[in-house]
């Protein structure tokens, strides 16, 4: 191959590299990292705190302390329980973590979880206007009385608003759609703010 051919080849390669540089610059990671609102209201748990590792070996993981609301077994009023969870990477993951911890139930004796196993989170979003959208999957066979439905809605809404920064209210959808209620009682046609009436005084 002649020297000239080699030079042309290099020129083409160089242009390709420049093009690649241009592309990576236009979707720079700094621009992307600014997209999400700050969502961690809680301060990180005390340094050295570790998330429980399933294998039993404590692998240091950055954690945050969250406050979850569970019902007392006697009267059904909601009580807070604190717990350290691995620091979530974004609001969607954080909402999922909160839901899963609520569904896992309390560790304190005398409290009961209120999220039935056949009620699951399809997706959670934090909108720019401070509204959280929880899209639930509710099994058609589920049915609730008022007190049970109030506990479910209040524990979800209050746990989210307690832990996620920049939130004002929570809108609950079922299977991606707006609904009147979960089971014929609590109004889900409008977003809910903190439900104080279900908290133990």
């Amino acid at each position: 191959m002649s020297r000239r051919a080699a030079a042309i080849f290099l020129l083409v390669m160089g242009a390709a590299v420049a093009g690649l540089l241009y592309l990576t610059r236009s979707s720079s990671p700094t621009a992307r990292s600014r997209r999400t609102l700050p969502f961690l209201r809680v301060t990180p748990a005390a340094s050295g705190a570790v998330a429980p590792a399933p294998s039993g070996t404590a692998v240091p993981v950055e954690t945050v302390r969250v406050t979850l609301f569970f019902a007392d077994a006697a009267q059904g009023k909601l009580h807070p329980e604190e717990r350290d969870v691995p620091k979530p990477p974004g609001p969607g993951a954080y909402l999922r973590t909160l839901f899963e911890e609520l569904a896992r139930g309390p560790s304190r004796p005398g409290l009961v979880g209120v999220i039935p196993p056949r009620l699951q989170l399809r997706n959670g979003f934090l909108l720019a206007n401070g509204e959280v959208v929880l899209d639930l999957a509710v099994d058609a066979s589920l049915s609730f009385g008022s007190a049970e439905e109030l506990s479910i809605v209040a524990s979800l809404v209050d746990t989210v608003l307690q832990n996620v920064a920049n939130t004002r209210r929570v809108r609950i959808l079922v299977n991606g759609e707006p609904v009147e209620s979960l089971g014929g009682h609590v109004d889900l046609t409008r977003p809910l703010s903190f439900v104080r009436s279900e908290l133990a005084s």
């Binding site: 236009s26 621009a31 997209r35 979880g113 609590v186």
Partner: protein, 516 residues
């Protein structure tokens, strides 16, 4: 292929890179477009040939621009709208909706840029303009859209829907607006005039007549709407509400008309009391299910039928059931039926369940606005607080029907009465049914929110509690609950009285709702 000599490669490559980056730099370098709006030309920074600075364009269109330094999100407010433009997203929140644009907004050098079609789609209509981008001259000439006058104030024209609702003694005329606006109300000879002072109004109609006892018509002329009274002596006042933005004109019955001989107004036949009883759940929606398999929908229907028979024995009244069979009805339809029947009371019957094993006893709920949105709370707050500057009737005569605006918040005007009703019912349930008093409670229950009359939801017992499930199944217990509620209803009206013998009065009757 022979390997090219090493030495020329690196400098050659570096040279090409420098050249390429320099060209890139100059291509995205600061070009400026001009946006011509209302006769003024403003510069809009460009990036490349087809991206425009969002902030510059918004400022040129008369928006205020603020930037969140943490997130890089721009808030554009003006013309009665708010737009949030965030880097990297093609979902643009505009007021309470989200507009999808073809390409994501891009952050370049700390500023946000968007293509022409995105700005034309999102920003221009809000400013009341349409535009054509002329790439040759790099000029954007905007022209006002129909109904918009360039020399007018900066607000985009306001579109308005009108609804007229008559409930109880008053009529509400609701002007739903496309954005926030200020008004001045003024009483004139024919009625009450509302003039929009900072926004142009797209006149929805010149005149619309209404079949309403108090309001004959609504007329639009320019930026003024007139609510025309049937009787010029009617009282009225107006106030704005938000979320959604609207102006409510409340027209009350005739006041201060001393010169007119107090001829009795056409006497409505003495108002028979109508009570709507709503057996909770039904059809495929079973409601709660007890440990022994008892279904809430069956208990509620059985007690409702007993209650429908019990009330007319104590109180001359007509009782309507929202369902008299095992059928599914939406929550809103239940309330609508009560509103349609112009009921004086709405009683929704339920049986409770809880994960708490200790939960038992009866409860009576009325509506809570605590966790509802700002609108509901504002409505409730207004009950006792007329806006300054409004044309109000006698200020010391608070009107219990004063402030509801939307059907789904109608109940906010009846909370005091509903609380009194809840107390009457809970008192009777405690006495007779030997259930514990879990008290009178408030909750954001959908079935209560739209009722335009005192409304409560009675939880007659916990079906999840094995003992109570057995009770709820038994006819004597069901009857005692029905009798207790009937006594409470009679107490509420303060005139417990024996009904006329069957067949002698038209008022005592039980009417099942038409099957839906």
């Amino acid at each position: 292929m022979s390997t090219p000599p090493h030495r020329p490669v690196v400098p050659c490559l570096a040279g090409i890179l420098v050249l390429a980056l320099a060209m890139h730099g100059s291509a995205s370098g600061q070009q400026t477009a001009n946006l011509v709006f209302r006769g003024e030309s403003r510069p809009v920074a460009m990036s490349g040939r087809d991206l425009f600075s969002v902030a510059d364009a918004a400022l040129a269109l008369g928006f205020k621009v603020s930037r969140d330094t943490t997130t890089g999100v721009l808030t554009l407010s003006g013309h009665g709208h708010q737009v949030l433009a965030g880097p990297g997203t093609s979902q643009v929140p505009v007021d309470s909706r989200v507009v999808e644009i073809s390409r994501p907004v891009r952050a370049i050098g700390g500023a946000l840029y968007a293509p022409a079609e995105s700005l034309e789609k999102v920003l221009f209509p809000l400013a009341g303009a349409t535009g054509t981008w002329e790439p040759g001259n790099r000029v954007w000439s905007l022209t006002p859209i129909a109904g918009f006058t360039a020399q007018a104030d900066p607000g985009a024209p306001l579109s308005i829907d009108v609804a007229v609702v008559h409930v109880g003694p008053t009529t509400q005329v609701v002007f739903r607006e496309s954005g926030p606006a200020r008004i001045t109300p003024q009483l004139v000879a024919s009625g009450l005039q509302v003039r929009w002072i900072d926004r142009k109004v797209v006149v929805p109609f010149a005149e619309r007549r209404f079949d309403d006892p108090l309001v004959a018509a609504v007329r639009f002329e320019g930026d003024t709407a007139t609510v025309v009274f049937r009787d010029p002596n009617s009282s009225a006042h107006a106030y704005p509400l938000t979320d959604p933005d609207r102006i409510v004109v409340e027209v009350g019955p005739v006041v201060n008309a001393p010169e007119i001989e107090p001829s009795v107004p056409p006497p409505a036949p003495s108002p028979a009391i109508t009570i709507v009883v709503d057996p909770g759940h039904g059809g495929g929606e079973t409601g709660a299910i007890g440990p022994g398999g008892l279904q809430e929908k069956d208990v509620t229907l059985q007690i409702a039928r007993r209650l429908a028979a019990a009330i007319p024995r104590l109180l001359s009244s007509r009782v309507v059931l929202t369902r008299d069979s095992d059928s599914a009805i939406s929550l809103d339809d239940r309330t609508s039926l009560a509103n349609h029947e112009k009921a004086n009371l709405f009683l929704s019957l339920h049986a409770n369940s809880s994960k708490a094993t200790g939960a038992h006893g009866s409860e009576t709920y009325y509506l809570s606005l605590e966790s509802s949105d700002r609108l509901a709370q504002e409505v409730a707050r207004r009950e006792n607080q007329p806006l300054p500057g409004t044309v109000a009737p006698a200020a010391e005569a608070p009107n219990p029907d004063l402030d509801f605006i939307l059907w789904d918040l109608a109940q906010s005007a009846h909370l005091n009465e509903s609380s009194r009703l809840a107390e009457a019912i809970q008192t009777q349930l405690n006495v007779v049914s030997k259930t514990d008093n879990r008290g009178i409670k408030q909750a954001p229950f959908r079935v209560l929110s739209g009722a335009t009359m005192p409304a409560v939801l009675v939880e007659v017992g916990f079906i999840s509690h094995a003992e109570e499930e057995k009770q709820l199944k038994s006819a004597p217990f069901q009857q005692s609950v029905a009798d207790a509620i009937a006594r409470a209803v009679a107490d509420f009206f303060g005139k417990r009285q024996p009904a006329p013998a069957p067949g002698t009065g038209p008022a005592a009757a039980t009417t099942p709702a038409p099957t839906r």
